[in-house]
Amino acid sequence: MSQVTMTVNGKTASGDVEGRTLLSQFLRENLNLTGTHVGCDTSQCGACVVHVNGEAVKSCTMLAAEADGADVATIEGQANADGSLNTIQQAFQDHHGLQCGFCTPGMVMSAAALLKDNPKPSEAEIRDYLEGNICRCTGYHNIVKAIMAASGQDVSAIAAE
């Protein structure tokens, strides 16, 4: 066991981990931040996406030890300071960008990473960026719509299908 210390959602967090402890496992089991979901555990589905030093990564395919000293952001840190949903989260609610909700934490974190680099993505760019995030409920259409709306683009022309 060795100790790791990282900043998670702006707060310092430490814990003892084995070499093999995954970042997803550390977040969920040591820090009780169970908003980061583990869907496939094979880096296909993207439900576990968090940001490490500002970049989207699959936390099931990164060791906790590799994140020692890093700045980590998870879905729990996304809401506004007063507890209200942030723009992306609110857009997912407004545009029905989720059904069962299992993939949603990863979708929101990937969307946040996309909009940071590309504030006004096209529909094609959004679909391309979400290649590593799998949703088995929605058919993606409303997720894409929510992300376009979150980026301030008019989505009234995009009919619900």
């Binding site: 060795s2 070499g19 880096s43 395919t61 590799e66 290649e131 590593g132």
Partner: protein, 258 residues
Amino acid sequence: MYNFEFEQPSTVAEAVAALADEDAQALGGGQTLIPTLKQRLASPSKLVSLAGIAEMKGVSIADGVLTIGGGATHAEVAADACAPLAALAANIGDPAVRNRGTIGGSLANNDPAACYPSAMLALNATIVTNAREIAADDYFQGMFETALDEGEIITGVRINVPDGANYQKFEQPASRFALVGVFVAKTAEGVRVGVTGASEEGAFRWTEAEAALNGSFSADAVPAAPSADGMISDLHGTAAYRAHLVAVLTKRAVAAIG
């Protein structure tokens, strides 16, 4: 996943020393190795992460030479390398994978369907390690086989920026790996064609096409598909289908370069 010790040295020399231990294994971005460990297909006693080594970072172009640190991620290559290689890197895996996976890790693994090996062969790249420099032609030695010795680390890659180059990837739609990928480059040494995903011997140069394209650089000059003997045959495609793709993708790459 069996447990292991974890070390993160900050210099190449420290990493080489750490890898001298029996059953120690270098860890790049972990996008192949961590899934492999989860499947218990490997059980190193110690993982030596190369991510903390500053001298292995960065992508730069100076005087027509592209230098990529072995620890550069696919996302960094996509952002800063010369256009054809950047385009290749931008289409590996998905964004989150590209933020972790490294060029050094990919080359050390030498997956028969990985994109980079075809580019390294076509661009006549030099693979730089802690101990020596290896020409791409000597580096790739078959599926998952390379010229690397035990404990040897890829610290970087050096490439002369080509006059023109293009990569055509025919994606296996579920894995997004290359079913077949062809990288064509016009280099100072002539036209070179690197192929990934097709052969049971791993990435290779299609020398027949190179000879034809050195005579006339046009899609029409690309020879008929190479022999299907020794091509990979699996549920995603037969050997003959892959051989056919090699010729089609080479034509597309040549047409794209113009």
